[in-house]
């Protein structure tokens, strides 16, 4: 119960999916504060550290990729791989699996 919004679902339950945040090894994978054009400069798209939203959102995809030895390859991982390679020179040398492990080990 680390993350909130357990019960927005109640408000939207008739034909709607539940809204849950997920607690992913103590960090948040479910939160996706969006950087739309009006949002303030809080978006961390250009960073690639621990607070990087694109990388954080890819943690479960990265886990699936690592657990399946590369067989399960979701779009959120794909987005994070591209993002890391755009931002980090050392990421360009690394394999997909190495990067997925690095995302998972954050």
């Amino acid at each position: 119960m680390k993350r909130s919004a357990v019960l927005l679902a109640l408000a939207l339950m008739a034909a709607a999916p539940a809204a849950f945040a997920s607690s992913f090894a103590g960090t948040s994978a479910g939160s996706s504060a969006g950087g739309s054009s009006a949002s303030s400069g809080a978006s961390s798209d250009s960073s690639s550290g621990k607070d990087d939203k694109v990388v954080q959102a890819a943690r479960e995809d990265a886990a699936s990729f690592v657990a399946s030895n590369g067989a399960i390859r979701g779009a959120q991982l794909e987005a994070a791989l591209r993002h890391l390679r755009e931002q980090l020179p050392q990421a360009r040398e690394a394999s997909d699996l190495e990067l997925a492990q690095a995302i998972l080990a954050q």
Binding site: G30, S36, E78
Partner: protein, 605 residues
């Protein structure tokens, strides 16, 4: 301006007469009978009519080339004017204030004359019966395969919020006349009702009075993190719109799936193009949901319910999580073949819905598929003739594909579809595979993944302590799944408790009730502002900014309280289970980091 104007009597006989009379093409204008009027009253009346004449757009002026007799007349207090068969009557009560010369009085009288002239124009041209006009105004088609463009429309206009004058909702002819008034008199009309402005411009001719409009579409975010925040989307940054289908599952409410639209918004700095498809954190989802508020929840009884149907704008990543991880349903995201102008039109209509629409949800008549179809239908006229409405989400997708609008070929290569985000698989599809990995590696004695997840967290822990990196990744995903399942049980328990004790103040339900109230704004953001109509303009946006910031922080507080409360309301066993899962997840996280470091793996800064 609030009074009712322009009652129409006369019917068909008058329509025929009018059409004949107006075809003569003689140059003429409005005439009034000066008898019984003082010199001041005559001057004021002539000035009013000249003023009205000068406001007429080209095609209305051309049609008005016929004598229309104008007369001041005692009318009911709520009737400003009347477009009668032989003469245009104006309420005599408007005359004295007009002579006094106040701006408001002048405007009220002018609006009345223009409103009535619009009725005469409409009777000749039948614009208020034009299907496209009805689409834009909000007398929507019913989404079934049988309707034509004329038959099968909703009897009711549910675009009830932020109306300039709710009299427009009484019938299409009044909607036309009210909107002509605003089209001719309000320089902001083009920004507040852009699609109708274009329609009227096309059919009546241009007016000189238009303020510059903001390019972006403003909305209130319904997401978890940013719920309540005022956000905007620039249509130029939207590369594509996909039909987003959540596949069905065994739940009665979910069997048919859920229809949504996905806006493929490009990350700042990226040139719109296929690369935007992976800018997932910027994508938004338009989702019609039946909103159940605290009053109606007590009568919540399954499929036959009747709730408000509202449009929510959600972050794509949250939608992915909700469906594939919480509900264990797959998502299909099928691109729609829309031009850039059509994408902009869908966004424009989205704004109109978001700020004005308060629909009624019928599971079998006006559900998410019908609403999504109507949004496309009303935005993009070329889709209107194709009769591809459907009342089921999968049915609608099939029809969109058959009509060549949706490009289902992206799903052909399964792996590629997953990689590029045309498909998001239910996590449940992988549980067996993940468990098999762990079972082989650790020689787990439990036969199935269900048995594994039914263990207490403490029973799973000794195995977790021995897992290698790959197995830890698998077990972490299963631990997450166990957590979501446990949370769903908590939620169900709390829901039952709320329904059972809805009158019990100061208990869990009070927080729930507060959350419901606050969440209601997310689908009906017009309740956050007073004044203005249509799409909020600059000063309203400034006021909204403040209100939405308050709402956002209220929602965060309420959710935190609810979470805190939920911990106390759940039983000790449930609490121990959840705490055990969190501890296991943390242990797995620690192990993953340690094993990764041992291997000398790449470290992200």
């Amino acid at each position: 301006m609030n009074g009712r104007r322009g009652r129409i009597r006369g019917g068909l006989a008058w329509l025929v007469l009018a059409a004949c009379a107006w075809s003569t093409g003689a140059v003429a204008a409005m005439k009034f009978d000066p008898a019984g009027l003082s010199p001041d009253e005559r001057i004021a009346t002539q000035r009013l009519l000249d003023d009205a004449q000068s406001h007429l757009p080209p095609r209305m002026a051309a049609l008005a080339e016929r004598d229309i007799a104008v007369r001041w007349s005692p009318l009911a207090a709520d009737v400003h004017g009347h477009a009668g068969r032989s003469e245009l009557l104006l309420n005599r009560d408007l005359l004295a204030p007009l002579i006094e010369g106040g701006d408001a009085a002048r405007r009220a009288a002018l609006a009345t004359v223009l409103h009535e002239l619009a009725h005469y124009h409409d009777r000749a041209e039948h614009l208020s019966r034009d299907p496209r006009f009805l689409d834009l105004a909000g007398w929507q088609v019913r989404a079934t395969r049988f309707n034509t463009r004329m038959a099968g429309r909703m009897r009711e206009n549910r675009f009830v919020d932020r109306s300039p004058d709710t009299y427009e909702l009484t019938r299409p002819s009044e909607y036309f006349a009210v909107n002509v008034e605003h089209y001719l008199l309000d320089p902001q009309y083009a920004c507040r009702r852009p699609a109708l402005h274009r329609y009227l411009e096309e059919h009546l001719g241009a007016t000189a009075r238009s303020a510059p409009c903001a390019d972006d579409v403003v909305y209130v975010d319904a997401g978890e993190g940013d719920g309540g925040a005022l956000r905007s989307i620039d249509p130029a940054r939207v590369y594509a719109i996909d039909y987003l289908l959540a596949e069905g599952n065994a739940q009665p409410m979910s069997r048919w799936g859920h229809s949504m639209l996905r806006l493929v918004v490009c990350a700042p700095g990226r040139t719109p193009g296929p690369d935007c498809r992976l800018d997932l954190s910027h994508h938004r989802v338009l989702s019609f949901r039946a909103f159940v508020d605290d009053v109606q929840i007590s009568s919540w009884s399954g499929l036959s319910g009747r709730y408000p149907s509202r449009l929510f704008v959600l972050p794509m990543e949250q939608v992915i999580d909700e469906y594939t991880k919480v509900e264990l349903r797959g998502l299909r995201s099928v691109p729609l073949r829309l031009s850039h102008e059509e994408i902009a039109a869908v966004l424009e209509r989205t704004a109109q819905l978001h700020w004005s629409y308060d629909g009624r949800y019928y599971f079998l008549g006006n559900n998410c598929a019908a609403e999504t179809w109507k949004l496309l239908h009303d935005s993009v006229p070329r889709l209107a003739g194709q009769g591809i409405g459907s009342i089921t989400p999968t049915g609608l997708l099939r029809r969109l594909e058959n009509a060549g609008v949706a490009d289902g070929s992206v799903l052909g290569d399964g792996d590629e579809a997953l990689r590029m985000g045309y498909r998001f698989e239910s996590q449940g599809a992988y549980f067996d595979q993940l468990y098999a990995t762990a079972k082989t590696s650790l020689f787990l004695p439990y036969r199935t993944v269900t048995q594994w997840m039914d263990l207490t967290p403490a029973q799973r822990r000794p195995w977790i302590e021995r897992a290698d990196l790959r197995t830890s990744a698998a077990l972490l995903l299963l631990e997450q799944a166990a957590q979501r399942r446990a949370l769903a049980q908590v939620r169900d328990a709390l829901k039952r408790r709320y329904l059972a004790s809805s009158r019990d103040e100061g208990d869990a339900p009070d927080v729930v009730r507060r959350l419901l109230k606050e969440s209601a704004y997310l689908g009906q953001p017009s309740r956050l502002i007073d004044g203005g109509y249509g799409i909020p303009q600059a000063d309203e946006r400034a006021a909204l900014q403040a209100r939405s910031a308050t709402l956002q922080s209220d929602l965060q507080t309420t959710r935190a309280e609810l979470e805190q409360g939920a911990r106390e309301w759940m039983g000790p066993q449930q609490r121990a289970r959840l705490d055990g899962i969190v501890a296991n997840s943390e242990l797995l996280g620690t192990r993953l980091r340690a094993l990764h470091a041992e291997q000398g793996g790449l470290r992200l800064p």
